[in-house]
Amino acid sequence: MLKIRSAICSGVLSAAALIAAASTAFAVELTFWHHTYPPARTFIEKKAAEFTAQHPDITIRLHDDPHGDYEVKLLSAIAAGNAPDIVNVLDYLFPQYGKRGILAEVDLSAFGVKSAAALEALYQPKALSGLTIDGKILGVPEEFNTLALFINKAHFKEIGLDATDPATWPKSWNDLFSLASKLQKPDNSRVGFNWVWNLDPYWYAQQYWPILTQYGCEVVDASGKAAINSDACVKAFSETWKVLIDKKLGGPELATVNPVNALQDFSEGRQSMAIAGIWAPPLYSDAVKAEYVVAPLPQFDPANPKTLLNSYALAVTAGSKHKKEAFQFLSFLTTDSDGYLATTGYVTGRTGWADTKVAKETRGSAIFAEGQKHGSFVWRSPTWSEEGTAIKNAIEQFAQGVPVKQALDQAAADINSIRQR
């Protein structure tokens, strides 16, 4: 009897050990690297817990670092062969990463579709175009953004305007500068409008790209040669960026530089109008949160509007051993557009995102949705960071008094030299 009991006990224990060993062998831990944005972390962790509840054998380990440090750390990890499974990558880096085979092609089955066209149909038009390299879709948007004009209505009220009335919104860049002049305080304790200065090249690009497209300016022409010093580009910068400086309405010395909050002056009520995305309001002070109004981006030709598209996307690395599970999680995560918008302010770019109750309750969502229709991604290049730096340098040159044409000639020479190299 004792022997039988012992045998049963040993059998049960062995079976339990086998089951435990088997479940350990099949358990998958996905590593997910993201740039630091506390609301996103909260949301992703919540969704990861839900996903694990549905798939007990898959867990997600989230790691974040501030933007800038994040990209450097990610590259080092990839170079060392320790790439995470899921990564968060800005769209302008896709050509660079795609060329080097860092990212895996999206697994269509994880998104419940059978073709790339069907996947594209799940998203707003063009949402995946910035993430497609050589015909391969390498990621999906976590954020699919465009920019609009934020106005402080209390400041408008001081000059006798009702910012909630679209008739008061600046339609052209000239309208914007004219309003900025009225809103500026003589001691510069408040400016009407300013660009974001002294941050990374992509911050500059987000602001000048819509203007360049509105003026018909191309950074590089069809043959791949720099065209940033063309007449159209010189005109674009001269009639927008330079005007603000020449009229002493704004400029680098009137801007507070804060890499963590590029919109600090608007956020704290020292600036009346700012160009920003739908993600910006969580950064605003409570007083400004209560007062902001969203208006469309000013245009060179209001009848033919042009805006920016950008995407902080999610992708799976080519070296991941768990691509299938990683894409399953990405599909699960990005399907919750409302959750993303409500918790983080991110627009995932899924079709119909602007029609939901949550979106309708989000100030300015209709304007952002309209802006997405007229947008384009910044130029694609595997050497974008260096080319973007050349244009940033040109802007900072003419902000110091160098003629616009001369500064852009230098940028063009630099871009050609980078491309030749």
């Binding site: 990209e71 450097v72 590259l75 080092s76 990839i78 170079a79 660079q96 080097r100 860092i102 510069n188 200065w197 002294n198 990374d200 400029g251 680098p252 010395e253 009137l254 507070t256 530089v257 050497t383 960071s385 260096e386 730096t389 940033k392 340098n393 040109a394 900072e396 040159q397 902000a399 110091q400 630099d414 030299s417 190299r421």
Partner: protein, 292 residues
């Protein structure tokens, strides 16, 4: 005899045992990266693909590399305008401290504080101070001058960084000079006083000759540290405006990690290394004691 023989063996054995960890550390973390930099400078390498041998291509391109030439000029400007004032200030403050009889340790501690503060915090505070609406411009206004765009104009930003470095580096070299001053035998000064030497003569014929090795050390250290500086430029201006403060180390960092051009970045590193090595040797040779 047997005990002595064993003891000699034991000393040698222990010596090697103690030296090995340090040697391994130096080989792994100092010598290997230096040699690897030389190797990579002869290749095209983007961190993510295998290196491709290109010979001396990157070195040949240096003469026409605008970013490199500008960066070299900015680095030389920064070092040249930092070393002189820092040497003079730290020398003068250290000398003044030797005259202080009352509470000297407290003054030493107080004056050494800038060196022990985390450089990131120091850089951020200076950034706020040099901001256009910051306290430095407020002081200028108060004195009846126009405020200056310290960090946003290429004409001023390099100077703002030089001024920060004066403040930060002086305290460090002051301590070295102070140690030098305190090591000069008092007899020299007593003999000079008996001979009726004036203050200037004491400085010229007693203090400066006795301080020559310390001055040489500070000169070499401040030049090497100046050429290797990174944190102020990265945190305060990130090399801007329009690359006006992009010193060599920052260019190397951006070329490596933003532009993924490790071959070119390693070439810059090799040139900087050779430059630092040559300048250090030259300074040591110039400051050598010719009586030896």
């Amino acid at each position: 005899m047997r005990i002595g023989f064993n003891a000699r063996l034991g000393v040698a054995g222990w010596g090697i045992a103690f030296a090995v960890p340090a040697l391994v550390y130096i080989m792994l973390f100092q010598l290997y990266p230096i040699l690897f930099s030389f190797y990579i400078s002869l290749h095209d390498y983007d961190l993510l693909s295998d290196p491709v041998f290109v010979g001396f291509k990157h070195f040949a391109n240096l003469a026409s590399d605008r970013a490199f030439l500008a960066s070299a000029r900015i680095t030389i400007f920064y070092v040249a305008y930092t070393i002189g004032p820092v040497l003079l200030l730290s020398f003068a403050i250290a000398w003044a401290l030797t005259r202080v009889q009352l509470s000297r340790p407290y003054w030493q501690t107080l004056l050494f504080i800038p060196s022990v503060l985390p450089i990131v915090s120091v850089a951020l505070v200076w950034k706020l101070m040099f901001n256009f609406p910051g306290p430095i411009n407020a002081t200028l206004r108060g004195l009846g001058f126009d405020p200056l765009p310290w960090l946003t104009y290429g004409a001023y930003a390099p100077w703002a960084l030089v001024i920060m470095s004066w403040w930060h580096a002086t305290s460090y070299y002051m301590i070295i000079f102070l140690a030098g001053f305190l090591s000069i035998p008092k007899d020299y000064y007593e003999a000079a006083a008996i001979d009726g030497a004036s203050g200037l003569q004491v400085l010229r014929f007693v203090t400066l000759p006795a301080m020559r090795p310390t001055i040489a050390l500070v000169l070499v250290l401040s030049t090497v540290n100046g050429l290797k500086t990174f944190a102020f430029q990265q945190i305060v201006t990130d090399g801007g405006p329009a690359s006006a403060t992009q010193i060599m180390t920052l260019l190397i960092y951006k070329t490596s990690f933003s532009y993924l051009d490790m071959g070119r970045a390693s070439t810059y590193s090799v040139v900087l290394f050779i430059g630092i090595f040559a300048i250090s040797l030259l300074q040591i040779w110039l400051m050598r004691d010719r009586h030896d």
